[in-house]
Structures are given as structure tokens and as C-alpha cells.
Symmetry: C2
Subunit: 167 residues, 2 copies
DNA sequence: GTCAATGCAAACTCTTTGCAATCTG
DNA sequence: CAGATTGCAAAGAGTTTGCATTGAC
């Protein structure tokens, strides 16, 4: 589950430089929270990060973990896996398909692609387990949002609202 | 945003058959909730489904929407987009990579694949918008979980726990 | 020393559950 | 008619926020 020590060191130095570059303070909490995410090959959730950090920093609070994770993401030093802060969405298309997601308005379209479907499961993955389903997600900006940069950008604003609700 | 009428009809009949086959009652709520998901090309979240259904069934309650969506998923008549009921997870690997996720224990491994990276963005998607990031997610069962079907299946059980927490 | 960052506790939102009334097959 | 399903209201999780205190630069 743990990552190679040299990779971790590399990540940590990039992190320290990243904070410095952004003029953000390097606190023990931030360092440990980052290390907790960076050291695992799996991708921890908030609770897991909290438990891990608390082993070394028993006084750390859960809300600091939340705040720190989101701000490191804003700084581009971490990312979320999958759909970030978005809500669960439902899909009635039970056939094989892929998704295009607009980062601005959150709209999500299905698409099919023989080219992607033809790629066979890499050997590295075969070693990890048996694959059942392969799904591609392409993220970008939809034509509607990129065309709205001038006057009303109602669709783009929709994203801000969604984030505001939680941050 | 809406799907072709014939596709919707087809989905609805498969849904009705699906319920019948499973010996589950067809209530107006279930039908409308399913239709609300099935009719949109985008993928609605709980709140959106609720608002849509309420237009035709003003007395529907939010908890029925939740219960119905999850049970339709259990019946295999709907699916969730992305990471279903799982929590947000964090990733310190800021380079381009893809994910293998174990459906049983939830473990998630990074992998790289030139083959996937070489596939160019399909034309259908270019029409939808500008692509920024392409990420492949392969779901399956990891070797650890598939090897544990006999005695202790601690890793597999971990998933049940996670689901129990919410259902 | 200054201003950002933290910890605490309370507030909020989203989601789930218990139970009586209702409706489907 | 019997048992599943619904609506209501209240409980439960997870997440966020306000504010006084602490700590990094």
C-alpha cells in the first residue's frame, strides 16, 4: 500500500516548494496531511487521512483536515479522484459507454468509442486483479460554456454555486 | 438535454419488464423516478430527480426518491456515474495516470498506459467541447479479494461495511 | 509582532430510518 | 386481502463555519 520512499520524498519537496511559491505557511498539520495522502498508493478518504495524521499529531482536528485538503487542491498540490465534490449522479444507460464532463457547468454526456473499447487491459492491471468494466472519462469545457465567456455565463456560474454550497 | 423518445420508450419497457421479472411492484413513483433519470442525456443527481418527479407527482417525498434510486440500482436497472456511494478520495499523483478500482474492497491503484494515452479524443467528443484530461477507470476484483473467497474475506467485507453505513 | 492557521463546538446539509397509512398484484 | 411501498417526521452522518487562541514567518 505504501509508495517508494524516494517518490514520497520527491512529492514532499514539491509540496514544500509549492507552498513557498504560493506564499502559504508550512504548518506541521499541512505537512502531515499531505504526507498521509502522498505516502499511500491507494487513495485515502478524509476519515483515513484523519486517522493516519492523528497517530503523529494527536491534537489535529477533523475540520483542519477538511480545510487543508481542499486548500491543497485549490493550490494544485493534490487532486481528488473521480468526481471531486460533485454529488452522486444516476445513469439509465446500461450499455457500455464513456463520459464527457464539463468542468464549468458539470454537464455530462455519454459517448461511445470503438477505439477506446479496442484497447485491451494493460498487463500491469492484469497483475492487480480481474477487470470487469473499463470506462473513460474525458473532462474539459463544453461548447456552451466556452462560448459564454463574454456576457452571461450562466452555465459557468452554476459550478461556482455548487462549490459555494460546500466551501 | 432530452433523449430520443424511442430510446426512452425502450428504456421504460425494459424497466417495467425488469421489475416484473424481479417480482417487484410497479408504483407510479417508481415509474416517474425511473423516467426522470432515463429521459435526460445528462445524468441527474438526487435533487434534480426529485424536482422533476414532483412536477408530475407533487406528493412524492424525497426519501422515496432516495430509496427508489438505490433499489433500482440493486436491481441493475440504473447505475451511478463515477464512484457511486463511495466517499471523495485524494490523490497526490499529479502526473497523468489511470485507476484500477476493486469493487469488493474499494482499493484503488494507479497505472499508466501508453496505449490508452495514444487514443485520440473521438470526433463526437470534439463536438461537445474541448477536452482537457482523459482518465480511464478499470473496475474489477483485485487478486487479494478474489483469493479470499474461502476463509477470511476481510477485504471483501470492508465494502459491505461501507455500504451498510449508508443503506 | 502580525496575520494566517488551528481547534473547538455548534450549525448545516444531505441522507437514512421507524412507523402508521396506503396501494399494488 | 396480504404484504410491499409510501409519506412524514425525526434521527444520523458527514461536512462546514464562527471565533478565540496559537503559531509560522
Amino acid at each position: 500500500m505504501e509508495i517508494a520512499p524516494e517518490t514520497l520524498d520527491e512529492r514532499v519537496s514539491r509540496f514544500v516548494e509549492g507552498l513557498k511559491g504560493a506564499g502559504v505557511k508550512l504548518t506541521p498539520q499541512r505537512l502531515e496531511i499531505f504526507r498521509e495522502v502522498a505516502k499511500s498508493a491507494d487513495h485515502p478518504d478524509v476519515e483515513t487521512v484523519f486517522r493516519g495524521v492523528r497517530k503523529r499529531l494527536p491534537s489535529v482536528s477533523l475540520d483542519t483536515v477538511y480545510r487543508t485538503l481542499w486548500s491543497l487542491i485549490d493550490l494544485g498540490l493534490l487532486s481528488t479522484v473521480g468526481h471531486s465534490r460533485e454529488r452522486v449522479r444516476f445513469d439509465a444507460n446500461m450499455g457500455s459507454h464513456h463520459h464527457f464532463v464539463c468542468e464549468a457547468c458539470g454537464v455530462m454526456w455519454d459517448f461511445q468509442s470503438d477505439e477506446f473499447d479496442r484497447v485491451r487491459v494493460p498487463d500491469v492491471v492484469r497483475k492487480l486483479g480481474s477487470a470487469q468494466k473499463t470506462q473513460v472519462e474525458i473532462r474539459g469545457i463544453c461548447t456552451r460554456c466556452s462560448g459564454e465567456t463574454t456576457s452571461r455565463r450562466c452555465a459557468s456560474r452554476r459550478k461556482e454555486d455548487r462549490w459555494k454550497r460546500r466551501s
